[in-house]
C-alpha cells in the first residue's frame, strides 16, 4: 500500500509536469489550429534563462522561475509576431513544419547562448518531507503538485468566467466569425503563445532538479504531452490535462510493476492501440468532416 501511495504521489508530480506542457500545446492548438511541437524547446530555452538568473544573482529559485516565465512570455510574443502571424494562410501541415523549424532553431541557439554543459537548478523547497500512509513525500513534490493544479484551475476559471476567456473560446470555435464579432483574434493568438511558453517553462523548471537543465531535457516531456493531448482529445481544454495525469500514472505503474526498461515503450504501444479504437481520445467528440 505504501509503495502504491508513493507511486501515486510521484505520478501526480510527473502528471503535473506533463499537464502544464500539454495545456500549452492545447491552448495554441485551439487558437491557431497548429500542433506545437516546439513547446518543449521553448520551455528548455527559458529554463536556461531562469537558471542563469539563479546562478548569477543568487535569488531564490521561485523568483528566478518567475523571471524565467516572464522571459518565456516575451519569447512567445516574439515567436507569434515574427513567425506565426505571417503563417495565417499556410496549410496545417506546413504550420506543423514551421514548429519543427522552430525546434531546430532553438536547439541551435541554446548551446550558442548558454554553453553546452548541463546546469543544475535547485528544488523550489530545498528540504523537508512528510510521511503519509507509509509513503514519504517531499514538500517540493507537494508544492509542485499544488502549483500545477492551482495554475490549471486559474486558467480554466479564466477561460470560462472572464471576458477574455470568452474571446479565447470564441477564437477557438471559429476564428473568422470571432473576428467579425470584434474579438481581437490576433491578440488572443499572441497571448496563447506567450502563456504556452510560460507553462512550458514552469514544467521544465519543475523537472529540472531531477535531470539538470540541458538541451534535451524536455524531449521526453514533449512526447508525453503530445500523447496526452491525443489521449484527452484536441476538442476540449481540459481533456489533455486529464490525459496528462493518466499518462503520468500509467507510466509510473508500468515502469514499477512490469519493467523499468520497457515501461515507456509499453506505454507508447498501449497508446497506439488506444488511438486505433478511440481516435478522438477519451472525451473527444467526433468531428464531422464537411466537404
Amino acid at each position: 500500500m505504501s509503495t502504491f501511495l508513493q507511486l501515486l504521489f510521484s505520478s501526480l508530480e510527473s502528471g503535473s509536469v506533463y499537464a502544464l506542457a500539454a495545456l500549452g500545446i492545447i491552448i495554441i492548438f485551439r487558437t491557431s489550429r497548429m500542433t506545437n511541437f516546439a513547446q518543449g524547446s521553448l520551455g528548455m530555452v527559458n529554463a536556461f534563462v531562469a537558471t542563469f538568473i539563479y546562478i548569477y544573482t543568487g535569488i531564490t529559485p521561485i523568483i528566478a522561475a518567475l523571471l524565467g516565465m516572464v522571459s518565456a512570455l516575451i519569447l512567445g510574443i516574439i515567436v507569434d509576431l515574427v513567425i506565426m502571424r505571417r503563417a495565417k494562410k499556410v496549410s496545417p501541415v506546413s504550420k506543423q513544419i514551421i514548429t519543427f523549424g522552430l525546434i531546430m532553431l532553438l536547439l541551435g541557439l541554446a548551446p550558442m547562448i548558454f554553453g553546452t554543459s548541463p546546469l543544475s537548478f535547485p528544488r523550489f523547497i530545498i528540504k523537508g518531507a512528510f510521511t503519509i500512509g507509509g509513503a514519504s513525500v517531499t514538500y517540493n513534490a507537494l508544492f509542485n503538485i499544488i502549483v500545477g493544479l492551482t495554475i490549471m484551475l486559474l486558467l480554466f476559471y479564466f477561460l470560462q468566467k472572464t471576458k477574455w476567456g470568452l474571446a479565447v473560446r470564441a477564437t477557438a470555435s471559429n476564428e473568422v466569425t470571432a473576428q467579425l464579432m470584434g474579438v481581437p483574434t490576433k491578440t488572443v493568438t499572441m497571448g496563447a503563445w506567450a502563456v504556452a511558453a510560460a507553462l512550458g517553462t514552469l514544467a521544465a523548471l519543475m523537472l529540472a532538479p531531477a535531470i539538470t537543465v540541458n538541451v534535451s531535457m524536455m524531449d521526453n516531456v514533449q512526447v508525453n504531452a503530445l500523447i496526452a493531448c491525443v489521449l484527452g482529445g484536441f476538442q476540449t481544454f481540459y481533456g489533455p490535462v486529464i490525459g496528462a495525469y493518466v499518462i503520468g500514472f500509467t507510466r509510473n505503474m508500468l515502469t514499477y510493476y512490469i519493467s523499468s526498461t520497457w515501461g515507456g515503450a509499453i506505454l507508447y504501444i498501449l497508446f497506439l492501440v488506444f488511438i486505433v479504437f478511440r481516435p478522438n481520445g477519451i472525451i473527444g467528440k467526433k468531428r464531422i468532416k464537411k466537404v
Partner: protein
C-alpha cells in the same frame, strides 16, 4: 543534345555520373576524403528524403519516425552481415523488409486517425525503436553501438570505400528513376488527388487504404535502404544518432528543396547535410560556433515555408524568368 538534357532520365544519369566522379577527383588530389564522405552522406539521406517526400509531399502525411526506420535498417544489416555472415544483397532484403512491415502497420493505424495525430503517433514509434536499439544488446550492441564493414557482394567481391560510394550513387540513380516513373503513373496521380481532398478522392473511386499504405511503404522502404547504405558506408551505428533531430533534418531536406518534386529532396539534402559541413564549418569566426548548422536549417525551414513554399529547387527557374522579364522591359 539539348533534347537529351531536357529528358529527366538523362538529367538523373548526368547528375549521378558527376557525383560518381568524386572518388576519382579525390585520387587526383582535387577533393579531400572528408568531402567524399560528406557527398556519400548527402546521397543516402537523399534516398531517405525522396521516400519521405512521397509521404509528405505527395500524400500530405507527416511522419517523424524516419530516423527510427533508418536506424532499424542499419542495425539489421550490421547484424546480418557481421553476426550471421550474410552477403550484402540478402542482408539488404531482410533489413528493408522489417521496416516495411512496420510501415504498413502504421499505415493501417493512420487510416483511423486525423492528419495531425499521425506525426505524434510516429513520434511514439520512433521512441519505441530507440528503446529497442539501446536495450536489445545481442542485435544492436546497446549504447556502445554496432560496427559493420564495407559491403561484400555475392560473398566474393569485397568493396572498399570508393566502390561503396559508387554503389550508393547507383542506388540513388535507381531510386530516382523508379520514383519518377512511380509518381508519373496512376499511383502518383491518386496520391496527389488524396492530398487535395480525401473525400473527393474517395468519391472518384480511389481506395484510400491502398494508397496510404503504398505511401507509407515507400517512405519506410527508402528509409530502410538509406539505413543499410549508411551502416556500410559510415561502418558504425549507435542509438543516440537515430533521434528526432535526424528525422527533422530529413524533413527539412524536403521542405527546403521542394515538396512534390523528385530532385527537391536531393537538392535539400545538399543544403541540409552538405552546406553546414562543407561551407559553414570552414567560415572564419562563426564557423566554430556550436549549433550553427541547426540554426541554419531551422531558419531555412521557416523562411522557405513562409516566403518560398515551393522550395528552393525553383530558385533557378524563378531567377531566370525574373531576368527575362527585366530584359523584355528594357527592350520595350
Amino acid at each position: 543534345m539539348k533534347q537529351l538534357l531536357k529528358n529527366p532520365y538523362s538529367q538523373f544519369a548526368l547528375f549521378i555520373i558527376l557525383m560518381a566522379l568524386a572518388p576519382t577527383l579525390k585520387q587526383l588530389g582535387l577533393l579531400n576524403s572528408s568531402t567524399v564522405i560528406i557527398l556519400g552522406t548527402v546521397m543516402f539521406y537523399s534516398i531517405v528524403g525522396i521516400g519521405l517526400n512521397v509521404l509528405l509531399g505527395y500524400s500530405g502525411l507527416i511522419s517523424l519516425g524516419t530516423a527510427g526506420f533508418m536506424g532499424l535498417g542499419s542495425y539489421l544489416s550490421a547484424y546480418c552481415t557481421q553476426d550471421l555472415g550474410l552477403s550484402f544483397f540478402p542482408s539488404l532484403i531482410i533489413s528493408v523488409t522489417v521496416p516495411l512491415v512496420i510501415g504498413l502497420i502504421i499505415g493501417l493505424i493512420s487510416l483511423r486517425i486525423e492528419g495531425y495525430y499521425l506525426a505524434i503517433a510516429t513520434l511514439g514509434i520512433s521512441e519505441i525503436l530507440r528503446q529497442v536499439f539501446a536495450e536489445m544488446e545481442f542485435v544492436t550492441g546497446g549504447f556502445s553501438g554496432k560496427n559493420a564493414g564495407y559491403p561484400q557482394l555475392f560473398g566474393i567481391i569485397k568493396l572498399n570505400r570508393q566502390m561503396t560510394y559508387i554503389l550508393i550513387a547507383a542506388f540513388l540513380l535507381a531510386i530516382l528513376i523508379f520514383t519518377y516513373n512511380f509518381i508519373k503513373s496512376r499511383t502518383g496521380r491518386a496520391l496527389l488527388t488524396m492530398r487535395g481532398s480525401e473525400a473527393a478522392a474517395q468519391a472518384m473511386g480511389i481506395n484510400l487504404l491502398k494508397y496510404k499504405l503504398i505511401a507509407f511503404a515507400t517512405a519506410t522502404l527508402y528509409a530502410g535502404i538509406g539505413g543499410v547504405l549508411y551502416v556500410h558506408f559510415i561502418r558504425f551505428s549507435y542509438p543516440s544518432g537515430w533521434n528526432l533531430t535526424l528525422s527533422l533534418q530529413i524533413l527539412a531536406c524536403i521542405v527546403i528543396g521542394g515538396m512534390r518534386t523528385i530532385s527537391g529532396p536531393v537538392f535539400g539534402a545538399f543544403v541540409v547535410f552538405g552546406v553546414p559541413e562543407l561551407i559553414l564549418k570552414r567560415l572564419p569566426v562563426i564557423g566554430s560556433i556550436d549549433g550553427l548548422a541547426y540554426i541554419f536549417t531551422g531558419v531555412l525551414i521557416i523562411v522557405v515555408i513562409l516566403f518560398y513554399p515551393n522550395g528552393l529547387i525553383y530558385l533557378g527557374n524563378d531567377l531566370q524568368s525574373l531576368f527575362r522579364k527585366k530584359r523584355v522591359k528594357n527592350n520595350g
